[in-house]
């Protein structure tokens, strides 16, 4: 018990430190500008923050996959995880939007894409999809709030438009998840060939599904420890199967493309890109596929949790590889994030975790609520999430 209390204080103080550093860095960012607060430069105009936007949106992909499985394909087994999935997507998107605005050179002009249109721009399309999808997530999540405050009339209206909203949500998600990959189509000469592909949008779309589903498995684990809300193993192993299928498709797709475009020899060149690529493949594809096909682990909670953690790590590495590693050679400049970039990112993660915790504690996100008994330890547990992210 004493040891537990000690750890609790550790996580609490870690949170306080992250908050102080984060707020300090935000002040620097807005008073001194991007040059003073980031390691970005003319040759490396995009860094950690853009990568983190990709990661945040990708990990939130469970929001649309689970909503579609439960409410469009009417697979009732997954209904119980639809709400937590939508909530984590909602919070994920809010975080990404906040980070995008912080990253803008002129954040005061953030509303310009609403009135100044350029339909040829992938960035314009992404902006609109993110705005529309955030609105849809609001509709999808509204029942949780409306139930609590008993706004029954409004609840009825919301429930009526929900199926259409979910279908639109899947479409918007498909578009902008893939469009993050499309951002790099226009720089064929800059992206290292192992990552450049005219199918980049499809790679981004497929990989976000595996990452999103893994995120559900992982948060089920964290919530099980924090809120005593374990998921039943049928749902978990169902999700695991989903992850396996998607990972296998992506791996076969990736390698057959490397073969057909004659890039396969690059896999054996002595270069840092090669090692990063292999690390991504081994962490994010080979190991989780091995776990998920192993009869001993695939129906075992710990096995599934580990498969999820590996899939997510591989996913994070993939996105950072595309937006940092793959461009180092052509830019002729290396980049590592500044203290301010890192601490602002961690601060936003902290805020997201606290928001998730607050909503789960005060609204009925999980079915059959029996929280509050173990709320004391919850914070500590959720914050282990921070480590993994």
């Amino acid at each position: 018990m004493k040891k537990k209390l000690g750890r609790l204080t550790f996580w609490k103080s870690a949170a306080v430190v992250i908050a102080i550093f984060g707020i300090y860095s935000l002040i620097i960012r807005f008073t001194k500008g991007l040059g003073a607060s980031t390691n970005l430069s003319d040759m490396v105009p995009w860094g950690l923050w853009i990568g983190f936007d990709f990661i945040g949106v990708g990990l939130a992909a469970a929001g649309f996959t689970i909503a579609a499985t439960a409410h469009i394909f009417h697979n009732h087994k997954y209904e119980s995880i639809a709400r937590p999935a939508i909530l984590s997507a909602y919070i994920g998107y809010m975080m990404v939007v906040a980070l995008l605005v912080i990253d803008l050179g002129k954040p005061e002009n953030f509303w310009h894409p609403l009135v100044m249109w350029n339909v040829h721009s992938v960035m314009f399309e992404i902006t609109w999809c993110v705005i529309c999808y955030s609105t849809i997530l609001t509709i999808e999540f509204a029942p949780v709030v409306l139930e609590k405050f008993k706004f029954n009339k409004l609840l009825k209206i919301v429930k009526k438009i929900t199926p259409a909203a979910i279908i639109l949500g899947v479409l918007f998600s498909t578009l902008h998840q893939s469009s993050f990959g499309s951002l790099y189509l226009i720089v064929p000469a800059k992206v290292y060939p192992l990552w450049y592909s005219s199918f980049l949008p499809i790679h981004f779309f497929i990989s976000c599904i595996a990452a999103g589903l893994s995120m559900i498995i992982l948060s089920a684990y964290l919530c099980a420890r924090a809120f005593k809300q374990g998921l039943n193993i049928r749902i978990l192993s169902g999700l695991g199967k989903g992850v396996l299928v998607v990972l296998a498709i992506e791996l076969v797709f990736k390698f057959s493309e490397l073969f057909s475009t004659g890039k396969i020899s690059l896999l054996f060149v002595h270069a840092s890109e090669t090692y990063f690529f292999w690390l991504e493949i081994i962490l994010g594809s080979v190991i989780p596929i091995w776990i998920l096909t192993n009869p001993k682990y695939k129906a075992n909670r710990m096995g599934l949790y580990f498969a999820a953690i590996f899939t997510i790590s591989g996913f994070i590495l993939n996105r950072m590889n595309v937006c940092v590693t793959s461009l180092v050679r052509s830019s002729g400049q290396s980049y590592s994030p500044s203290f301010e970039e890192i601490s602002i990112t961690l601060f936003l993660v902290l805020v997201s975790i606290l928001a998730f915790k607050f909503i789960v504690e005060n609204f009925q996100v999980f079915e059959k609520e029996e929280t509050n008994t173990k709320v004391e330890t919850s914070k500590e547990e959720i914050e282990t999430n921070l480590e993994t992210i």
């Binding site: 721009s121 992938v122 279908i167």
Partner: protein
Amino acid sequence: MSESILNIDNQFGLLFDASECIGCGRCYEACKEQNHLPATNKDFLKDHLSDKTYTVVEEYGDTYARKMCMHCLEPACVSVCPVGAFEKTELGPVLYDADKCIGCRYCMQACPHNVPRYEWGSVSPRVRKCNLCYDRLKKGELTACAEACPVEATISGKLSDLIAEAKRRIKENPDKYYPHIYGLEEAGGSNVLIISPVPLEQLGYSPKVPKQSMPTFTMQAMEKIPSVVSVGGLFLTGMYWLTKRKNQLVKEEHQTEEGQ
């Protein structure tokens, strides 16, 4: 995009001839003066493009090379900017509007020639680059750099005339030139053309720049959006009704079984 390549005949541009350039730096000085830019380096040959320097002269052995915005015919920056802060003008220059800009820096990431620079030190930073002296071109004047050049290494004029002039110089002096006009096809063509005595990659012009216009790389994905939306929408709506109906039938079956 099509509107930007409409009237190539009315467009102006620059021809830089590295065989003629003597490395005097007058173009560099003239550009600074024209754009009211502060001094950035005592030795102009060691300067580099920045938010305060829109063109540079670089030394490669005894050959000099100029770097600046190429003013592509179908510019990547114009196509990627989410708010349309870049514009390909009818006269050729690619212009930037800081009032529209949100500062996403996609233009910098997308530019095949790595040209746009950013005011990193500012709290309301702008993208900075050569504007091909748009105001002077409109008045029928030469660009500041071309006017300043004492040896016709940089000349400005109608794009079609410049192409003809570049071809003429190469044809008449085949020993003096490497037979390639950089910018004629690179990135789908640009209003700035470069000819040189040596292969252009030896002067720091990237040989990796594709020959096709950059926006086409994005269009092949963007043009699929309407079909993804319509086919996807139909499929999902169909699945919604089908699976709902299926579940209903299963339920009814159970009920009738229980009834019996």
